[in-house]
């Protein structure tokens, strides 16, 4: 049971959160201009690193804020 540091509510149990995968994947400014490969990249390609990873979390059962945290996916330690 991960203890996830919500920047607003402080550490809460994993069960209060939903996961958003890799952070900082921007929505293409002009999707229409993207070719199929670029668009597929936006839809499906996300970092899946073993080790430190910038991730999006949503404090779904708490303050309902999305936030970004850095976590080691091997040890599940949250990094600052």
């Amino acid at each position: 049971m991960l203890l996830i540091p919500c920047p607003w509510c402080g550490p809460r149990d994993e069960t209060e959160f939903s996961y958003g995968g890799e952070a900082d994947v921007p929505y293409p400014g002009d999707p229409a201009a993207a070719d199929d490969a670029t668009w597929a990249g936006y839809l499906f390609m996300r970092a899946n690193s073993e080790g430190p990873l910038h991730e999006r979390w949503h404090h779904a059962a708490g303050c309902r804020r999305w936030f970004v945290a850095r976590r080691d996916t091997l040890t599940s330690e949250f990094l600052t």
């Binding site: 994993e14 490969a37 899946n48 599940s76």
Partner: protein
């Protein structure tokens, strides 16, 4: 079965521990079930025996050592049904072929329906399976009581069981025996199984792969296949390939040994549990994948608690069974819950990953089609629909509906 039959029975000889040669015709990265099966079929089906399987840890120590060994082929879409049914057909003769008791038991796999939506999807799957030549039946609660009397069929429970799909030819096998059977057979055909060799890079000439760099030195290779469930993204990244995968923990658990009580395999998508009773007598259970990326081969405890909530609800008789051991594998989950198979942007480099939670049952077919792909430098007909390019064209093979708990 008698005590001596239940006792672990393995042959007196398994495999050699050769030093890696300078180069091989084919190097298979990953000594798991799929990698070992690929090596075996390369030798058996294509006569390619100058093959090395390089494994960073101990042979068959990844997901094949950690899974719950459920076998079935009742998938919804034609493409999935075709490859999983090919696998099931191979399973049916595999023990004899490998001369190894795989404890393969076709005791039937039941997938419970708890709502009108479940019934609709279940019927859809049964009808599709039958038209694809796959044995599939729809069970009423009375039928369920006959097949598996311990299922809670009370009408007043929170998620009453209103029916089930059933594949009689589905069942279980003993995971280690399967991997070791392939390893032993591949070894006997001349394949070098190299443990403790972690691949740290790929060597290329132009757009063509020429070898792998490992913790036990460089190994030249005419062709290379990446078959590393749980680490596909990590290893593919060494070759500069991005994959649409999320590597997540999938947890499982076993009970102590119990007198026979549970005759088949039961899955429930709605209340998230699947359970069978292995040959020795332990209950083997699993549930859904954890909610986040995790490479630590451990999951979160609440997932275990929730699956036992479901287990006790569906099987009240399990209440006093005990959890002996919990563990987790790492499953590579793809966007459409279907595997990614075939060629890569790098010539002579081949890919087999993204089986998610369905990998074990697919082991024979997976090895079969990958061996074909490596030998012929083109996808096998069964794997063609599962190419990486589908994520660009949008031609996904979405098994989520039928595979919420895809075991």
């Amino acid at each position: 079965m008698s005590p001596s039959e239940e006792r672990s029975q393995h042959p007196r000889r398994l495999w050699r521990h050769p030093e890696p040669k300078a180069s091989y015709d084919v190097v298979i990265v990953g000594g798991g079930g799929h990698g070992l099966a690929t090596a075996y079929y390369l030798a058996r089906n294509h006569g390619i025996t100058n093959v090395a399987v390089v494994e960073r840890g101990w042979l068959a120590g990844g997901n094949v050592a950690r899974n719950t060994a459920v076998i079935r082929s009742n998938y919804l879409w034609d493409e999935s049904a075709a490859i999983y049914e090919h696998s099931l057909k191979l399973w049916e003769t595999l023990a004899a072929e490998l001369d190894y008791d795989l404890l393969f038991s076709q005791r039937g796999v039941m997938n419970l329906a708890h709502s009108l939506g479940d019934v609709r999807e279940g019927q859809r799957r049964v009808n599709a399976n039958r038209l694809n030549g796959i044995d599939a039946e729809w069970l009423t609660p009375d039928d369920i009581a006959r097949v598996c009397p311990i299922v809670n069929l009370a009408g007043d429970i929170r998620h009453p069981v209103v029916g089930a799909t059933f594949q009689p030819r589905g069942g279980i096998a003993k995971h280690d025996h399967v991997a070791w059977g392939y390893a032993r057979a591949a070894d006997a055909l001349g394949v070098d199984l190299i443990e403790g060799a972690e691949v740290t890079g790929f060597e290329r000439e132009g757009d063509r792969v020429t070898g792998v760099v490992t913790s036990r030195g460089r190994i030249g290779a005419g062709r290379v296949a990446i078959v590393v469930a749980g680490h596909a993204s990590v290893v593919a990244a060494l070759a500069g390939i991005r994959l649409p995968l999320q590597s997540r923990p999938l947890q499982a658990l076993v009970s102590e040994l119990l007198e026979p009580v549970h005759p088949c395999v039961v899955l429930s998508n709605a209340v998230h549990v699947y359970v069978s009773q292995a040959h020795k007598g332990e209950l083997v259970m699993g549930a859904g994948v954890d909610g986040h990326i995790g490479y630590g081969q451990r999951g979160s405890f609440h997932v275990i608690e929730d699956q036992l909530v479901a287990a006790v609800e569906l099987f009240p008789i399990f209440a006093r069974a005990h959890v002996l051991r919990t563990w987790a594998g790492i499953v590579d989950v793809s966007p459409d819950a279907s595997p990614i198979l075939g060629l890569t942007p790098i010539r002579r480099l081949y890919l087999n990953c993204g089986w998610g939670t369905g990998g074990f049952k697919a082991t024979p077919a997976s090895g079969w089609v990958l061996a074909h792909t490596v030998a012929n430098d083109e996808p096998h007909e069964l794997s063609r629909p599962f190419g990486l390019e589908r994520f660009t064209t949008g031609a996904l093979i979405d098994e989520h509906g039928a595979a919420a708990v895809a075991h």
